[in-house]
């Protein structure tokens, strides 16, 4: 019986991911994503990151979608508060709208409006390392 139930669920999930990937490829991504600089007071374009969008319901972890000046998705970022990296907390099933990951960066961030506590950026780059320069400034 479970197989019959799971099959349509998996099918739904797969098609959702496919639609999601298509909808996030170019800025602006579809709702419920919103431009971070319109939610909190941050520069519209963040050097080293790009133009950020997030579904506010997923804060603080995200995913945050980062776009280059040409409007193309360059990375998906998760922001994990360092105080939550402990035995009693976990971040499970974080959405990954675009599965095409070239490489991953992980680094500490002191905080910013929206995630106002020290946290870790886990960056799934959808472009090659050499192309990160496209969002450097």
């Amino acid at each position: 019986m479970k197989k019959f139930v799971l099959a349509p669920v998996l099918t739904l999930a797969s098609s959702f991911c496919a639609i999601a990937a298509d909808e996030v490829a170019k800025a602006p991504p579809a709702a419920p994503f919103q431009q971070v600089s319109r939610l909190v007071k941050l520069p519209d374009f963040l050097p080293g990151i790009g133009q950020l969008f997030v579904d506010p319901a997923t804060l603080p972890a995200g995913p945050f979608l980062a776009y280059g000046r040409d409007g193309r998705l360059v990375s998906t970022i998760y922001m994990l508060p360092t105080k939550d990296l402990n035995p009693d907390k976990s971040f499970d099933n974080l959405a990954a709208p675009d599965g095409n990951v070239d490489h991953v960066d992980v680094y500490y961030n002191a905080g910013h409006p929206g995630v106002e506590e020290p946290h870790v950026h886990v960056v799934l780059w959808h472009v090659a390392a050499a192309s990160e320069a496209s969002v450097a400034k």
């Binding site: 080293g48 002191a110 910013h112 409006p113």
Partner: protein
């Protein structure tokens, strides 16, 4: 009385004679500039300088020089999100709200004493500063501030420069 003002920088002119903080002799009519700075990857943020000695009536201007982040200069005062009082009781509180890159905020200090302030989104990262208003006393008349610290994160408490160091050097930068 404390006078606060929020500005957007007009780069290339218009700034009143901002003080070169390498100078030891700070005159009351000069504006002291404190820069809000940060690493490009956001891993570190700070006020530069973190501690200054000024004279009564002198203005301080904070400017956000961090292209990838927003900052505030916010007095430790119950009026600001219930923060503990760490400025003179007779002094008026201030809060710049978020300053985007190249924006600035000014405040004039008239009451003598020790003023502690923070950056709202970065208090937990130790982005705090201290301003002392008053004449230097040669024999250590100032004692280290005994102020309320309830709710102030350890990172912030550790970051405050010592009153004695500010009195001795007038300008203290982050190590």
């Amino acid at each position: 009385m404390t006078v606060a003002r929020r500005d957007v920088l007009s780069l290339g002119g218009g700034l009143v004679a901002a003080v070169s903080l390498s100078r030891r002799d700070v005159r009351a009519e000069e504006v002291v500039e404190i820069r809000m700075k940060g690493r490009a990857d956001g891993s570190q943020v700070w006020f530069d300088p973190i501690g200054v000695l000024i004279k009564p009536g002198q203005m301080v201007r904070w400017i956000n020089y961090n292209p990838g982040n927003s900052h505030t200069t916010t007095a430790y005062h119950p009026a600001n999100f219930g923060k503990p009082l760490r400025i003179p009781e007779a002094a008026k509180s201030w809060d710049s709200d978020y300053l985007l890159p190249e924006e600035s905020f000014s405040n004039t200090f008239t009451e003598q004493g020790v003023y502690d302030y923070l950056c709202i989104p970065h208090e937990h990262a130790g982005m705090v500063g201290r301003i002392i208003v008053g004449e230097p006393e040669p024999h250590g008349g100032w004692m280290e501030l005994v102020a309320a610290s309830r709710g102030v994160p350890d990172e912030a408490l550790k970051a405050f420069p010592m009153v004695e160091e500010i009195m001795a050097k007038r300008i203290v930068r982050r190590v």
